[in-house]
Symmetry: C2
Subunit: 410 residues, 2 copies
Amino acid sequence: MMRSDCEAMDAADSLAHARKRFILPESTIYLDGNSLGALPASVPSRMQDVIAREWGDDLVRSWNVNGWMELPRRIGARIASLVGAGQDEIIVADSTSINLFKLAAAAVLRQAPRRVVLSERGNFPTDLYVLQGLEKLVGERMTLRLVERAEVLDALSSEVALVVLTHAHYKTGELYDMRGVTQAVHKNGALMLWDLSHSAGAMELFLDRDDIDLAIGCGYKYLNGGPGAPAFLYVASRHQECLRQPLSGWMGHAAPFEFVDRYAPAAGVAQYLCGTPAVLSMAALAEGVATFDGIAMSAVREKSKRLGDLFLRLVAERCGDGGFEIACPRNPEQRGSQIALRHPLGYEIVQGLIAQGVVGDFRAPDILRFGFGPLYTRYVDVWDAVDRLARVMADDTWRDGRFRIRAAVT
Amino acid sequence: MMRSDCEAMDAADSLAHARKRFILPESTIYLDGNSLGALPASVPSRMQDVIAREWGDDLVRSWNVNGWMELPRRIGARIASLVGAGQDEIIVADSTSINLFKLAAAAVLRQAPRRVVLSERGNFPTDLYVLQGLEKLVGERMTLRLVERAEVLDALSSEVALVVLTHAHYKTGELYDMRGVTQAVHKNGALMLWDLSHSAGAMELFLDRDDIDLAIGCGYKYLNGGPGAPAFLYVASRHQECLRQPLSGWMGHAAPFEFVDRYAPAAGVAQYLCGTPAVLSMAALAEGVATFDGIAMSAVREKSKRLGDLFLRLVAERCGDGGFEIACPRNPEQRGSQIALRHPLGYEIVQGLIAQGVVGDFRAPDILRFGFGPLYTRYVDVWDAVDRLARVMADDTWRDGRFRIRAAVT
């Protein structure tokens, strides 16, 4: 395979035009959109407007005249259209961690006397930490049980109140069968909560069709919402009135501006708001989500799979003797929008790649991750990245630890 | 008193130069900085930089090379210098509501078998709502007790674990004696948590000297951090290791990038972080806090008191027959940086003022609030505001409800 083959793939790519929706640095091949999505081209001017006109000129009136109050629902509705949810089932608020706390706590209270919350060892740490914090707080009413990935379904029992899993694993990119797992969990009488941080914006999702109960997800990865963007949460319509979340701030009140002493939850998904929304970060997230305007998620998924397959094929062709172990599924149907390689010198190799202008990332102890934002990653980017990876592997100088030293001082 | 007297006061004002640190709309007299602080002049260019260079060019590397990871501590340390706290006692994170949940939960767990959390009826609603949510979640281990403002100290008992009060009341601006109340609470063996949302940035505070245990506060009012800016929290050094907060996300972990399954709290105030910080909103807050550079909080407080006194004097001189009741303390030592008037047609009068370019706000059922940002509010602004208030009161047309109708359509 030649670079020109990749150029031909880009020329035939129905999503190629979407790259113009982003501002990307000239000399970088960016394969870390699974950590921080690239900058949408519309963000700088939109942010100037929200700052100068909305904040500076209209000041506090903007909550009404410029729709600040509506941002959590409006952006939520747009995200809903990307993940197969109803317009009134998603709201944007707080962080992924905080949103997990809200939904897991609501589910545990609801599911009593069941008290086991089941999750996977090696799940993204913040999910486990938040569940541990909740367990400590509610005492007798909850026990967190962590099992190996392969044992999750076997661990279902009549004690299980809630299962919390991440759809695409943050390290390996491995996907769960969302529909099948949810069915098994339901058969057991438990509720299912999916963390979509590494899948929303990267593939088709069918939250309603697949009968999902609860979900959370990240705004700053494939949704391109900017660093630390607000997160989203999904509560299926059928659960909205019977669950009650404990982070009951004034924005989730039925009538926040009546200033009464007694909390009364807002109807629907608005109950899941807590404090005042971070308007500036929300405004950027709205632009991030708008990069998907007019684009079918099926096309995004198709391209994502091809980019991953191409990466693996080129690694096999060009770095066959590099000592890499493939740490992600080879079958693209079972893989998120990233490739994961395992190598004992993973950290040094990632530093070597960065020195060559290729940005992937490293996850301890030995995983190299390369993520693809199908709206802006080109096939030639994959070619160039693997080309430089092959060069790094062919250059013996780094094996003596020079990169480790260089990394420590920069 | 004449307008020229106010001009003379502005000419003699040692803080007059600070107004240039803000961009304010030409034709508006903005007396609502207690709801949303004005736009710092440095925000537009700083935000362009954080967006174009840090996000757009440096991308994920910015967490290290551009100090994104340090923002919560760095801004926290700057706020600490404004409120009499140590550099390592304040961190910026999440919203005021979420931060209250963290600290109240930590205190309740710590103070067992004491289980009463005491607060004031009519406290800012989100504080009460969050405490109600916590109560529901922890069950037997907590009881929320609300009493009238005058009865708080009498309600102290050996059952009280924690007292939660707002230093400057959001409606009336009335101040508690922070030091005295805290001493009484301590004498009783309880912990004290102050909500500083309406006082931080408006006056001198002495958190360390006054032996405060815990505090929370808002970034978007007197700190000028922008709409929905991240909030801050204070934990006295002596409590940092013995308290444990339940919203234990990865950013509060001792080693977030080791990705281990078991939560271990970070040392010090960093434990109180939860999810990934909202960088764009934090960058604006940093500029808001920087508007206080080189300015003594004693001077801010002095001017704030004078602005309030002037407002009350002019209302008495110009609107004496308007039917207003003074709803804030007349003694400036007992008052925050706002004036509150009570009037049965308060909503209509506030709408009439807005039509005249004077922005205050209304809080149901009958309070008109006028807030002063001492860095940008001038004495002539107070003169002009009361002048227009007098005009509104003299104009009989609004009494037939026209303003209510006008407000409904605009």
